[in-house]
Symmetry: C2
Subunit: 144 residues, 2 copies
DNA sequence: AAAATACTTGACGTTAACGTGAACATACAA
DNA sequence: TTGTATGTTCACGTTAACGTCAAGTATTTT
C-alpha cells in the first residue's frame, strides 16, 4: 500500500488529533465529515486528506466558528461544486463577524476587569477600617 | 404603610430590574433569596432591602460569578451568623480567581484575533492571485 | 359581579458539543 | 482458539440559567 493512500482507523486518528472517537463520529453525524465506512464493512477508514479535513474543522472551531456555521460552509462547498472561489469569501465573512464578536468580548472583559478591581478595592478598604459598619456592602451595588 | 417598609410584588420587582419573574423565583429556588411568601398566602412580597439583594446578585452575575458560587457565599454568610468580616475575604478570593480567568480569556481572544487575521489575509492573497490552485486552502491548517 | 390582569405551582423544553454505558461484532496477538 | 483491544450502533445524560406552557387562584379594575 503506497504511503499516500494509507488509511487509518478511527482510534488512531483520535489519538493523533487528541480528540475522542465520539467527537469524530459526531462530526460525521452532523454532516461535517461524510461517510467513511468502506463498502464491505462498517468500519471507518480515514485517509490523510480526511484527517486534514478534521484538522481544518478543529482549527475553525478554535477560531470560534460553530459546527453549524461550518456545516453551512460545507453545504455551499458541495452546492458550488467545490468552487473554492465562492467559498473562501464566505469563510472570510464568518471570520470577520467573528472578529467583531471577539473585539466586543475583549472590550467587555476589560471593562469587567476594571469593575471587579474597583469593587475589590472598596472591599479591602472596608476591611482595613475596622470601625466601620461593613454590613451594607453585601447589599450594595458596586459601580452602579 | 411607611415608605421604608413598602412591599412590592414580583411583577413590579421584575419590571424594575428588567428581569423575568421566573428568574426571581429561580433565584429563590436555588437558595439565593429566601422565601418571601407572607404567612397568610402564597404571594411573594419584596422589601427594598430584598430588591437590593437581587441587585447584588445581578451585579455579581455581571462580574462573572456563577449562581453556585453565590450560593456558597450565601451559605457561609448564614453559617457565620452574617459576620461580614468572614465573608468579604471570600468574595475577594472569588473575584480574584475570576480576574485571572478574565486575563486568560483576554489573552486567548487576543491571540485568536491575530490568528484569524493571519488566516484571513492568506485567503485574500489567494483570491487575488487567480492563477493559483486554491483548493488546498480548505484542507490546510492555518498558522499551524 | 364580571372581566382583565397578575400570581401560583409544577414540569418539560432549550442549546452545544459531546460523554458515557450497553450490548454486540471484528480483528489482531499469543 | 482464546483472549483482549478496538470497532459498531443506539440512546440517554450532562451543564447553566432560565423559557415556556398549562391550569388553577387571587387581585384589581370597570
Amino acid at each position: 500500500m503506497s504511503n499516500v493512500n494509507e488509511k487509518f482507523k478511527i482510534g488512531q486518528v483520535a489519538r493523533q488529533l487528541e480528540i475522542s472517537t465520539r467527537t469524530i463520529r459526531y462530526y460525521e453525524e452532523v454532516g461535517l465529515m461524510g461517510d467513511n465506512r468502506v463498502e464491505s464493512g462498517s468500519i471507518r477508514f480515514y485517509s490523510k486528506a480526511e484527517i486534514l479535513r478534521l484538522r481544518f474543522i478543529l482549527k475553525l472551531k478554535e477560531l470560534g466558528i460553530t459546527l453549524k456555521e461550518m456545516k453551512k460552509i460545507a453545504v455551499n462547498y458541495e452546492l458550488n461544486n467545490q468552487a473554492t472561489d465562492r467559498i473562501l469569501p464566505q469563510l472570510i465573512d464568518i471570520l470577520d463577524s467573528n472578529l467583531k464578536g471577539i473585539e466586543v468580548k475583549i472590550d467587555n472583559l476589560t471593562a469587567l476587569r476594571t469593575d471587579i478591581n474597583g469593587y475589590r478595592r472598596r472591599i479591602i478598604d472596608l476591611l482595613q477600617q475596622p470601625e466601620m459598619d461593613k454590613s451594607q456592602v453585601v447589599n450594595e451595588c458596586p459601580a452602579a
